[in-house]
Amino acid sequence: MVRILGGAILLVSLGALAPARADAPKVALALQNHQFVPAELAIPANTKVELVISNRQQTPAEFESSSLHREKVVPPGATASVFVGPLDPGKYEFFDDFNSQTRGHLVVK
């Protein structure tokens, strides 16, 4: 049982090791004065997208979203990439975990 399960996990992991990251369209998102700019981002449904997040603040931020399953620390002045999708249409909230009033939405159409 254990061996079968282990084998299944290994297969799943191997099969997924070569996803196409490079061709994902890039979407820019900035953090400044404790706000996401833009606060609402529109992306196409069922498409993998690279969010390029620039932290233009002097303080570190943590881009986080429960519905997108993402959490990434972005040091002050740094830029970080977060891949999202392919997603179903809908509205997905994200926030700065170091400053939880700072919130934004991803609108997937």
Binding site: G15, P19, T59, S66, S67, P75, A78, F98
Partner: protein
């Protein structure tokens, strides 16, 4: 100050709960204080180092350094917790055969306390590095003044440690003949939850498929951003909106560690008479 206290509390809470479980799982074992204390110390030193190299780590491995680093820490902790439980299961069977085996194994130091010390170090390192990064950011931006930051940080840390202490005291109040079973289960669920978090980081790094965006959504019952939600997230891996792969990793870890425990030593329960006579020693240490 309040914002600082809340952030520090949240991160300290997660580490303190793990330390509470580890302390309860090793209750009454001589020398555990050294290992747990050493683990905390190593974790703090590691946290400062990781925060200092945050930029380099984030930029490593073509931008997925942070995800891979977090996943590696989480899976290392899972392996240590699993190793501890399997070792305990092996010796649990011996204990029921020979009355004094536990005492001997404990005294000659063969029990893998180092594994628990390592888990503590990893937990403190992971949560601590975010605290250091956050506090450094506030200090660098000159917000609030150092006194407010120190007070906020100390309050948050104290509250987090208090929660861990409450968990520990609650656990060691469990009669010793059940304590072994209870801590074995807690360590098992903790390991499964950490594995599911690790899987989430590998999905984020694009190294694993999500296998379904949100299998279910229980955030209307318990949001994982709330304090109780965060506590359950740490303790048993509660996630309001899990991906398929997280559920797979959770169940696989449960089955793998639980299966190996069963294989080597029967079900995780009932330490022999040795442990029962060890009760006085436990109480005198607590």
């Amino acid at each position: 100050m309040l914002a600082t206290a809340i952030i520090v509390f949240r991160e300290a809470l997660e580490a303190a709960l793990i330390v509470g479980i580890v302390l309860a799982a090793s209750a009454g074992v001589p020398g555990r204080g050294r290992w747990v204390g050493g683990g905390i110390l190593a974790g703090v030193v590691g946290a400062v180092a990781v925060a200092g190299f945050a930029d380099a780590i984030a930029a490593a491995a073509a931008g997925i350094g942070q995800e891979v680093f977090n996943a590696a820490i989480l899976f290392a902790a899972v392996a240590m917790l699993g190793w501890h439980n399997i070792w305990m299961a092996t010796h649990g069977r011996e204990m029921t055969r020979a009355a004094n085996r536990l005492g001997e194994a404990v005294r000659d130091g063969s029990r893998p306390l180092w594994a628990l010390g390592f888990v503590v170090a990893l937990a403190v390192l992971r949560e601590g590095s975010e605290v250091v990064l956050f506090l450094y950011g506030i200090a660098a931006a000159g917000g609030g003044g150092p006194a407010a930051m120190a007070v906020g940080g100390a309050l948050g840390l104290a509250a987090g440690v208090a929660a861990g202490a409450v968990l520990y005291l609650g656990l060691v109040a469990v009669p010793l003949r059940h304590l072994f079973t209870v801590t074995s289960w807690l360590v098992l669920l903790l390991a499964a939850g950490l594995a599911s978090q690790g899987a989430a980081f590998l999905v984020q790094a694009d190294l694993l498929p999500a296998l379904g965006g949100n299998l279910w959504n229980t955030s209307f019952i318990l949001s994982d951003q709330s304090i109780p939600g965060r506590m359950l997230h740490t303790l048993i891996g509660y996630t309001a909106q899990p991906t398929g792969i997280q559920v797979v990793f959770y169940l696989a870890t449960l089955l793998l560690i639980g299966g190996l425990m069963r294989l080597v030593g029967g079900t995780p329960r009932r330490p022999g008479p040795a442990a029962r006579t060890g009760r006085t020693r436990l109480q005198s240490q607590v």
